[in-house]
Amino acid sequence: MIFLAGFAPFQPSPGLALWSLIIFILFWLLMAKYAFKPMMDGLKKRESSISDALAQAQTAREEMANLKAENEKILAEAREERAKMIKEAKDTSTSIVNDAKNKAKDEAQRIMTSAKLEIENDRNSALTQVKNQVGMMATNIAEKILKKELAGGAEHTTYVNKLVDEINLN
């Protein structure tokens, strides 16, 4: 140590010691309170928020994967449902068409039957009328003939009546 004799920077000075003690301790306390502690807390907060965010991202990714699987399942179900619905609709439409066809056939049958019946009736009535007309005309003709002839005889009138009755049988 002797070679350092008179080497001023290495001489322990009480004034400098006192001041450096005061300044360093003040520096330490103030920095601890106003700078280092907030920085430590802030850094810790940031670190935990980053790890939280990473964990959240992980769960979100997992959730997304789950969601996707579910979606696919739902989609498949929907597809199946659709196919079913289309099939049902087809069946329904076929049955409707068949029903309609059958109904139309029945109706046509019914209309044809009633038409036939009417035609028969009309023919019968027309025939009756024609018969009556023909009878009257024949009577009239016969009357006239008979008038001419009857002047000749009663036997003729009887014969004619007999003839008319025979026609009626037809």
Partner: protein
């Protein structure tokens, strides 16, 4: 690149100062021509006079030649008494690289910036009889070598530091003119060299003493008649750097309140260093206990780093705070106290009663461990102060090349050669010192962390 400009500016300014010295020395020639003889008998003159050569180059050979013919009134003063023996001011125009370098790294009561601006600082003097005295060092009107042109009460300013005139018979006005200072090297009975310093007032020399130094007289100090409690250059630097760091960190720390965000601005400058100390210094040594000691470790690191870098700023007056043993001693003391306060049962057991060792080993081990307890902070103190002071001396020595080659301003060509040499050497040294500034702050912090870690560790007696 910036370092290059700094050193270029440094050297240019050195040349500027040199040309001023040039003018001065040519002026002094009139006064000193002829009297180069110095009386070396009886005592040696404290200053190196190798540069004291205005009209010849080799002082010694000429002094022998001229010794007889130039016995004039200008010779080294002989002090028959410590108080009031007649003396004349001596002009030392020579360049003494050692003295210059040491003067520049020393603490001072005035802040000398490039020999152009001298900022006076407050002086707080404690004296047992007079109590506390408070005044400004502007009273001394510091000049060349930071010597005061005036004295105030009992006090004078010698090489930037307040000294006290010890003579009880010294009588002067409250403010008096000081003609100059003188230093005489003497040898005591054991052959140990010591200096006596004199202030010259009214043609008479009065012994002056420096402030009290707590070295027990080992380092050339000792108890004297007064304590200098002034906020010196080093103290003001500490205050300024502390405030600078505080505002820097405060503005960064504010950004951590509220929701976490990505770092921005000053925060991204401060945070990586902060995290480096936390993750690579505190946590490896202290583990889960790091949060308790982190503020101390951070304060140590940034305080030392800030002051190391502050001392590297050119033209600021070579502030040598972390190279001052007093400052590192205080920091080491704080570390010592904190380590031992927090030392747990295991820590003390490992010192006084190392588990798992036989009793005869303990007889040797316990004193060694006990010694180690004190050596640890002692090495912290010496390592930091030594490294920083050495760096300052190296830079000042390289800048000093300009003056050595230029023969203290008399040889312009030589000084230019010196400048050409000094620029790359200073640049190199400044780059090294920049690394040293970080490394030493880091080393102090990591060792503190390791001591704290060792003191608080929970052992399970694995020896």
């Amino acid at each position: 690149m910036r370092i290059f400009f700094f050193s270029l500016l440094l050297c240019l300014s050195a040349n500027l100062a040199l040309s001023q010295a040039d003018a001065k020395s040519s002026h002094d020639k009139h006064d000193h021509s002829g009297h180069n003889h110095h009386d070396h008998t009886g005592h040696n003159h404290g200053h190196d006079h190798s540069g004291h050569n205005h009209d010849h180059t080799d002082h010694k050979s000429n002094s022998v030649k001229k010794g007889g013919e130039s016995h004039s009134n200008h010779h080294a003063n002989v002090y028959t008494s410590d108080c009031g023996s007649s003396a004349q001011p001596i002009h030392h125009e020579g360049y003494d690289p050692t003295a210059t370098a040491l003067h520049h790294i020393n603490d001072a009561n005035v802040w000398n910036i490039m020999d152009m601006v001298r900022i006076p600082l407050p002086a707080i003097i404690y004296n047992k009889t007079k109590g506390i005295e408070l005044f400004s060092t502007s009273k001394f009107d510091a000049g060349h070598h930071d010597n005061g042109h005036y004295g105030f009460k009992d006090y004078v300013l010698y090489e930037g530091n307040i000294h006290r005139i010890t003579c009880p018979e010294f009588k002067a006005d409250e403010k008096f003119e000081v003609q100059g200072f003188d230093k005489v090297s003497l040898k005591d009975a054991e052959g140990k060299e010591y200096d006596k310093k004199y202030a010259i007032v009214n043609g008479k020399g009065y012994l002056i003493e420096q402030k009290t130094i707590w070295d027990g007289g080992l380092l050339g100090g000792g108890m004297t008649g007064f304590y200098d409690l002034s906020p010196t250059k080093n103290v003001v630097s500490m205050g300024l750097v502390s405030m600078l760091l505080f505002f820097l960190f405060r503005s960064a720390a504010k950004k951590y309140s509220g929701d976490p965000t990505a770092p921005s601005g000053i925060q991204s400058f401060v945070e990586p260093v902060f995290q480096f100390i936390r993750d690579d210094v505190a946590i490896p040594f202290l583990g889960d206990r790091h949060e308790r000691f982190l503020p101390l470790l951070m304060a140590i690191f940034f305080f030392i780093l800030g002051l190391n870098l502050w001392g590297q700023v050119p033209f600021l007056g070579n502030v040598n705070v972390t190279g001052s043993l007093t400052v590192t001693m205080v920091m080491a003391l704080i570390v010592f106290v904190i380590v031992n306060i927090n030392g747990n049962k295991d820590y003390w057991k490992h010192i006084f009663n190392m588990p798992g060792t036989p009793w005869f080993v303990k007889i040797i081990l316990t004193p060694v461990e006990l010694l180690g307890m004190f050596i640890k902070p002692l090495t912290l103190m010496l390592r930091l102060a030594g490294n920083i002071t050495a760096g300052h001396i190296a830079i000042l020595s390289f800048v000093g090349l300009i003056f050595i080659f230029g023969k203290a301003g008399t040889n312009m060509a030589g000084s230019l050669t010196g400048t050409a040499l000094a620029i790359p050497l200073t640049m190199f040294m400044m780059a090294i010192e920049l690394i040293v500034a970080f490394v030493q702050a880091f080393v102090f912090t990591i060792l503190t962390a390791s001591y704290l870690g060792a003191a608080t560790e929970e052992h399970d007696d694995h020896h």
